[in-house]
Amino acid sequence: MKSQATDGPQDPGQASIKTRRFSVSLVWIVPIVAVLVGISLVVNSWMQEGPTITVTFKTGSGLTANKTEVKYRNVVIGHVSEVKLSDDQKSVNATIKLDKQAESFTREDSQFWVVRPRIGAGGVSGIDTLLSGDYIGADIGQANARSKHFIGLENPPPITYGEPGKRFTLHTQDLGSLDIGSPVYYRKIPVGQVVAYALDAEGKGVNIEIFVYAPNDVYVTENTRFWNASGIDVNVGANGFAVSTESLSSLLVGGIAFRAPEYSPNDQPANENKTFDLFEDQQTALAPPHGKGQYLSLRFDQALRGLKIDAPVEFLGVEFGKVVSINLDFDAKKRSFPLNVGIMIYPQRLGQAHLKMLETLKHNPDDEAASIRLMGSFIENGLRAQARSGNLLTGQLYIALDFYPKAEKVVFDPTARPVIVPTIPGSLEQLQEKLEGMVNKINQLPIERIAGNLDSNLVELRKGLVQFNARTLPGVQTTLADVSKTLQSASSTLADDSPQREQLNDTLNELGRMSRSLRELSDYLGRNPESLIRGRPDNAAPMDMKAPPRN
């Protein structure tokens, strides 16, 4: 540049010209930006797009394509993109597009259900869907395996969102009034609920699955007993009338209560999925455990009206079993109809006696042969069963096992199954027999002869009386007249105006005067004893002037 300045003006140089093959104006930025925005939107939605799954429901009620949402904890995690009938027309397949973040809902054991308003005895749920429309609820699973197809639940699962707590299984004879959602009470506080129930494998019982929420699940211990708290428990006792129920809602929808017995040492919280028995009521639940039962058969020769199944079996007055069966039998030899009564006894209920007996006899309760031998020795010593009347009014019978050393010896058959315990007639039967004997003796008395004798005696007696009337009574009458006369004369003698009485009065007056003068004399002598010898002094005051001493 400097050299140019010093060299003076020159001709302008030729600028080189470049021709661009394509000249692109800046205006193209506009469509490019638009395309970029479009691409970003598409990429964004593609990134947001999660897995697509199919859920099979029984009906498509409440499911609308592109509208029904899938929610977890009330947050939208996807939506239904298509609702179609399945190929066999037996169900509805809902195709669900999940969000990217909901990828974990493809775990194999994830659950999907339709949330719609439900009104049940246990409460009302899904009210919000009345306005917003039904949606699909989802619960995340735990499994590692992934799946694309799910079976939708017809009812919402009672326990969702990984609620902390424990599941337990209860085994019982029948479901009763329990249902899914029925509450589980601990000391009358609801701490869980029934989540499922099913028949057991053989169909002879029901397995009820319950869920107890944390932190109360620790109160379910190894020793815990569960009982059915449905319904009302009415007790009529000496103290009056008592009604108890777990809660009003348990009256309607049933419920389960549990508690460990008051004395349960070394109790540990139960492990998850432990199986318990469900008892009928609190009393049986908290009663000491039965232990192993033993079935015995009894054979009665007399009618047992009033003996019912479940009637108690007592041993020396302690209840330790119950009657489980009563069957009429036919004895071909005797041509009679004996009764076979089956009883179930629980020796463990005898408590201390049972324990000590086991100890002394070194008996193992699991050894069947040994226990039968033991029973045999008891029978040898006079163990007999007897149907006794428990209640004279209703005539209900119970079975009493007792020792009767004088009872007839019975041959014990150790091979018989079940073990047969010999019986003796019931107490009421014995009483009847005695009464019968007495009546027979009375029948044998010669009542007619006695009556004949008595009759002739009475005739004699009447004759005697007639004689008495005819002869003796007149004499008596005259005697009585004489007596009356005598009494009359006596009364006239004693009358007020009779001369005898006046004379008597005079005599008595005289006697009074005489006694007075005698007293004066004795007084005077008392004061003046010398007068006995010297006679009366002259100056002696007249007696009447002095106040006589009163005696």
Binding site: S25, W28, A34, V35, G38, D128, L131, G133
Partner: protein
């Protein structure tokens, strides 16, 4: 006849004028009726094409993203332009649905496709195949393209419903707004300049 190329007729009163070259911010008016004869057009063919592509993009947005979504007490609904046409077709006025479909979806689409077709060839100074037909159709379609009407309707709906429901304008509505403005600019009467250029 060669001179007729330089003549321009007022479309309102049929007065004939000579074409003039206009500078920025200028427009030619008819002395007879005052109608606008010519306007300065600052867009080159290239710019026009670029904007046509942009408009095509916006058309796609407007048709595939919801115009607006409404929600009330948990009930939620959103609709695209095509949904609105479908909604109309289910009512008793199916014919209106057809008109709506033509005026807000099909006509703008055709306009854009034709424009892109014509302009792409114009960029390299060539007449595209079927140039005459395309230009005539562009002219014919213009009154049928009523995107701005649709936009106004959608905005009225948004404002009216806003008091009753929760209304959220979607991407589609914004795309629709820009698209309708852009269509006025690029598919206006100025397209006829192409006759002169080519």
């Amino acid at each position: 006849m060669a001179t007729t190329d330089q003549l321009i007729i007022c479309e309102h009163c049929d007065c004939v004028y000579e074409k003039v070259t206009l500078a920025k911010h200028q427009k030619a008016l008819c002395t007879c009726c005052g109608g606008v004869l010519q306007r300065y057009n600052g867009l080159s063919v290239e710019q026009r094409l670029a904007l046509a592509f942009t408009a095509m993009m916006l058309w796609i947005f407007a048709n595939f993203y919801p115009v607006m979504s409404i929600s009330m007490k948990g009930l939620k609904n959103s609709a695209t332009l095509w949904d609105s046409v479908l909604a109309l077709s289910q009512g008793p006025i199916t014919f209106i649905a057809l008109v709506a479909a033509i005026s807000i979806i099909i006509a703008p689409l055709f306009q854009l496709v034709l424009l892109i077709w014509v302009l792409s060839f114009a960029l390299v100074h060539r007449r595209s195949p079927g140039f005459k037909v395309c230009m005539r159709w562009l002219e014919t379609l213009r009154p049928w393209s009523m995107l701005e009407v649709c936009l106004l309707g959608a905005m009225v709906a948004v404002f009216k419903l806003a008091g009753l429901l929760d209304v959220i304008p979607g991407i589609g509505l914004f795309a629709l707004a820009v698209l309708s403005l852009m269509l006025i600019r690029i598919a206006g009467r100025d397209v006829r300049d192409l006759w002169d250029v080519l």
